[in-house]
Subunit: 465 residues, 2 copies
């Protein structure tokens, strides 16, 4: 299917998988199934379907992470802010209109167990899409789900059916009916010719298309930043903007072990289990326990006599919830957000453009962090008005710049950064550099002025270094 | 009751309360009910009963912690190693034989809700004890417990009964029978005249008494160390050595909301609950949850839709177990011990004679710790063969000695301790000193030679600093 171009959508934080996923550690970048990040496995899946390089659409703030996850051949389209899937896909359609490929729209944070079945469905869908159909893939339901949109198939067409209608997330009774009448789940996977999509957008979402067109970068390259005009687009999903309005919609059944990994319960279902039905990740000891999802990111987690529960441990938060009640995770995040707690959205251990920062400890007027700087990366050149810093190199050979003076460090070396000193950390070495940073004085993360930042981050900000 | 002297027994780690309690963080030193350490509340209870200063018997390795917990007026008897409660009480009886007080033996890690009822029982018991009775207190059972020893009351005596017999931990059927016939739980609380106890020991446990007598320090003081002869004593509980053998045993009923806090379930029962029956400690967010015991020592713990479970979070381990299965905690510790895991017994965050050490982070060949040194305390003068250390002072004004050279430090100052350097940290200041220590080189805790230690710890050991 050499005319198929993958469009991988990287929006969405997935707060229902808190505390593992937060807006600062979005779900596509997490390894939830032990086989690499969800973005990585999605790209592997796409690569098996088509030789064409994929397009990734995601937040500008995640450029480094997306580029690392996508590899060199992928093309990045960076949104100033998310506006739903319709503007994201529209941007790719505009960029590719000339060659008019089949755009295979794939969420970046789903799971598909059966690659062969996926390939068969996409092949069938491609035939329809080449004829100008707007193809949606309909997952054969395993239960009357109220958490998904549904698709009711209509008259048969070669390889699938016309779409009788779309149904938004139904109530339980409605879902039973949809299941009985052969309804399918809308997986958010689409296949459509670029120009066909543009025609449909022109017909059904002209203002959206206009805003995206105005936001397109003047010249295209491996990485394109969408302009501020993108923010003028309405916030619309592709289903709503086009699929539900077009007369050209066709549905192709997909029976490939699909999961949106939307809840801890869904993740447990998609995960490999031990003989007791436990799905574990990290340093877990389970005694007389069964049917649990236990994720230990940071410390030993021990469970005993525990059945059908979810236990998720991270550097700054622990969640325990019965598997069957795992949607309640969202209520926890809501409660934390109401209390203006940092754990709701940010992560003390999280990616930075240059590597990783982890808060180890803090007290009145001081904090201790571990900084991991990847080879070739650098923290911004910055000044703190009220905060002094001490760095102890534990591994690697980073270079430090203090008020213009640069020196290369070895493990064990200590750097004293007084308040008011313009400092920068650069890892020109070939291995990651790991440092322990002790902050003294103002614990205020906002006490930072960036004189220079290769990642284009703002001069002042709430994230460190 | 001015002739009553409290004997507070501080042995026992309480591994059934892992991960909160470990041999390195014994149960009596923990604040499990939010009202101070169990040792502290036990001493408060004793102080309300008698003006006499208490005796504490515990491990020599815990001298600093016991002294801090006991206050200046208490007398400490330090065991080179635990030999059960009989030798411990015997030592106090020998020390106090001259004045021949009533010894009120109290475990240091139990809970008694109703002080008035306790006082009434002790008053009744004192009358019997003055007449030469060996008084045991029998807790009115709330259920046919198989986890306690039982006492079957015999013929009435003023204020209580003679003891018909003692029953070791019974099976379920036997326990039902004991409950039906008015049996009482043996709470390990005793009241007996010092000389009466010595007579009984002479009659029923002569070798034990001889070993303890040989271990007595030449002169008594506020703190007495029992000599190595103590190790020759058989390991016996006071119940077995005397109570079950003497003809002078009497039992006084105790109906005072007693709990041995022996399991997480028992702790939940003794804890204050919110309106949903949750007992929480620390930074806990509970959504739609009930009947849980949630203990957050170190970071946020969130539970949602969780019912009747135990969640315990510490710096290095998390435990989740259904409340009704909380004895299985012991199986977890067994599993960890079999795997030779440090978490089984030691605690990365734990008391040191000089303050507290907390492991913050570690990697191959390096570790980061936070050291808190109390005013007037000092780490040992020590050398590491393969490990270099870096210290960053974050608060306080500790003094550092490096190969004989002493200098006083201020917050923000950095100390580089090369491998092979004899170093010591002393806090001569009036406020606690807090330092961040980065260890580089050998991560081996055993890489330590103590040249001088004011706490009498061995030259080489497995605990740091």
């Amino acid at each position: 299917m050499s005319d198929v171009v993958p469009v991988v959508l990287c929006g969405g934080a997935g707060t229902r998988l808190w505390p593992a996923s937060r807006s600062a550690r979005p779900k596509p970048l997490l390894d939830l199934l032990g086989d690499g990040s969800l973005l990585h496995t999605t790209l592997e899946r796409a690569r098996a379907l088509t030789p064409k390089a994929p397009w990734l659409v995601g937040a500008a703030g995640l450029e480094q992470e997306l580029r690392r996850g996508a590899g060199a051949r992928a093309r990045l389209l960076l949104e100033p802010a998310g506006r739903g899937t319709a503007p994201a896909v529209a941007a790719v359609a505009l960029q590719t209109a000339a060659e008019d490929p089949l755009l295979l729209v794939l969420p970046s944070d789903h799971h598909v167990a059966d690659q062969t079945a996926l390939a068969a469905a996409v092949t069938a869908g491609a035939t329809l899409a080449r004829e100008g159909r707007f193809v949606v893939f309909g997952v054969r339901p395993t239960h009357p789900a109220t958490g998904f949109g549904w698709i009711v198939p209509g008259a048969p067409v070669p390889g699938g059916h016309a779409v009788a209608r779309f149904v938004e997330k139904p109530d339980a009774a409605r879902a039973e009916g949809l299941l009985a009448q052969g309804g399918l789940w809308n997986a958010g996977i689409f296949l459509v010719r670029a120009r066909v999509l543009l025609e449909e957008l022109e017909a059904h979402a002209a203002p959206l298309l206009a805003a995206v067109r105005a936001a397109l970068p003047s010249r295209s390259g491996a990485t394109c930043r969408l302009g501020p005009a993108f923010l003028d687009s309405p916030d619309l999903a592709l289903d709503v903007a086009v699929a539900e309005r077009t007369t050209r919609a066709a549905v192709v059944p997909l029976d490939a072990g699909w999961s949106d990994l939307g809840t801890w319960q869904a993740l447990w279902e998609a995960s490999p289990h031990d003989t007791d039905g436990n799905a574990t990740h990290g340093d877990v000891v389970a005694v007389g326990s069964s049917g649990n999802l236990v994720r230990a990111e940071h410390r030993l987690v021990a469970v005993a006599g525990l059945h059908d529960h979810v236990v998720v441990e991270t550097a700054d938060a622990v969640l325990v919830v019965p598997r069957a009640a795992s949607e309640q995770t969202r209520a926890v995040v809501g409660r934390l957000a109401d209390a203006a707690r940092a754990e709701a959205a940010s992560a003390i251990t999280g990616p930075r453009p240059w590597g990783q920062a982890r808060l180890l400890d803090a007290g009145p007027g001081w904090a201790v962090k571990r900084l991991e700087v990847r080879p070739g990366e650098a923290l911004s050149l910055q000044v703190h008005a009220h905060r002094a810093e001490r760095w102890v190199v534990v591994s690697g050979t980073p270079a430090v710049e203090l008020d213009g003076v640069v020196r290369t460090l070895a493990p064990g070396e200590v750097v004293e950064v007084p308040a008011g000193c313009a400092h920068r950390l650069v890892n020109d070495g070939t291995v990651p550099a790991c440092l322990v940073e002790v902050q003294l004085g103002s614990p205020d993360e906002a006490d930072i002025v960036r004189l220079d930042d290769r990642y284009g981050r703002p001069t002042t900000s709430l994230t460190d270094s």
